[in-house]
Symmetry: C2
Amino acid sequence: MEQITGIRKMQQHCATLRAQGEKIGFVPTMGHFHEGHLSLVKRSKKECSATIVSIFVNPMQFAPHEDFDRYPRDINRDKKLLKQLGVEVLFTPKTGQIYPEPFLTSVFVDEITTIGEGVSRPKHFQGVTTIVAKLLNIVQPAVMYLGQKDIQQAVILKKMIHDLNIPVSVRLCPTIREKDGLAMSSRNIYLSSKERQSAPALITTLRTAEKMVESGEKDCKKITKKMEAVFDRFPKAKLDYILCADYKSFKPVSKVNSRTIIALAAYAGDIRLIDNIIVSPP
Amino acid sequence: MEQITGIRKMQQHCATLRAQGEKIGFVPTMGHFHEGHLSLVKRSKKECSATIVSIFVNPMQFAPHEDFDRYPRDINRDKKLLKQLGVEVLFTPKTGQIYPEPFLTSVFVDEITTIGEGVSRPKHFQGVTTIVAKLLNIVQPAVMYLGQKDIQQAVILKKMIHDLNIPVSVRLCPTIREKDGLAMSSRNIYLSSKERQSAPALITTLRTAEKMVESGEKDCKKITKKMEAVFDRFPKAKLDYILCADYKSFKPVSKVNSRTIIALAAYAGDIRLIDNIIVSPP
């Protein structure tokens, strides 16, 4: 596996791959891999002839009070895992090269960035859309792989790609879960053993919603109310929001329609957790 | 010459050109060509193996009170001129396809968009950067040709391209002028014959600055003061601003350094005119 740090070198490498007719699959990450990341890599390896993974802990998507400095990093372990999967190229750009001073440009998606995660993280998605626009311009892949766990991020990036006519397809891959249903996340290592015990509150609550939809319930108010009641059984976890939204537009909906996202965020101690499911009426 | 309206068709056409090893030169315009536009096209024809010209009067870069509706359009004349120059493809996308509802994404460059033209046209450059980002994603040219007349626009677009790692080179081409020195602009046809008489105020004023720099003056305050005095001799024209700025960063400067932009904007009647020169100490 080749590790490339320079942006220009990465652009040239990708241009060569494309000129050779390779289909580039791209997995943008912040590293510290879990099975969720690896599932994206595996899917790319299956569907594309060249897989490029990037690791870049993007300062622009962290607020000053957030966990940029202590965000978990383990590049050596990550490299081993990528090698085992036969990844061709790992792209690890340097912050100074990604954001040379003065960095003045941003890519912004309106409306769907100010609800859900956008309420407690107001500048977060602007950081995400800007870095992904940059990475897509550098790698110019045929396909980009994203995880369903960060569903709002995925919908926003798909919207950016559509609005800006970026020539890339997006594959959304299922959330990978621990045995007790907790969605895998690099931030799960922050959880103390006590907090970890209350973390299944999220999937338990979502499964309640799933069952209600399966048995014919479409009213999002009723579903949300029941979800809140179920969540309350986990006194150590604190609910932030529950959101029912259209799969494509991420507009909040009052009735479950074909492909509705039910997303929630909660705190276990200080640790913010998010999860979601996509449901359809039976 | 082929005229393409559909975005997808344009993307496919350009992908084919690139796969065939063609070097694509791109000239984005709002149509109603004058010699300035044609000089960009000629330069592209000279330097690239395939030239694509777009005509799109971009509503996003006009404020509600501005001249979007009456902006001059003459597609048949434009097509004849492009054919004469041997242009391969004219791209004329439709507004509904460029901005499908709901259009939520914008590309924004900070700081250098809020001075100069940005003062009286606060959302203008955001409209420009967003449409050019889109057009670059559709056409993916090797080179884009821009005119020096809109120097601030050119610096902002170069900054966007640099910050977002868009793989395209930019060529800035000299301003083309009428016999009396008025910079060519599609909007010049708005000028009444009286207003037209006072329009050389801009170039006369700029030439004063040029001479001062040539004779060793570097102090931008002194240069500006003298320029204002010269401009005052044209009572029918009204000065909006004079700006001395660094060529690369567009940061205002107090001393003329190597490659300093001296730009100004003025009104002849209601018609806004802009012009600029690039100067260097002798």
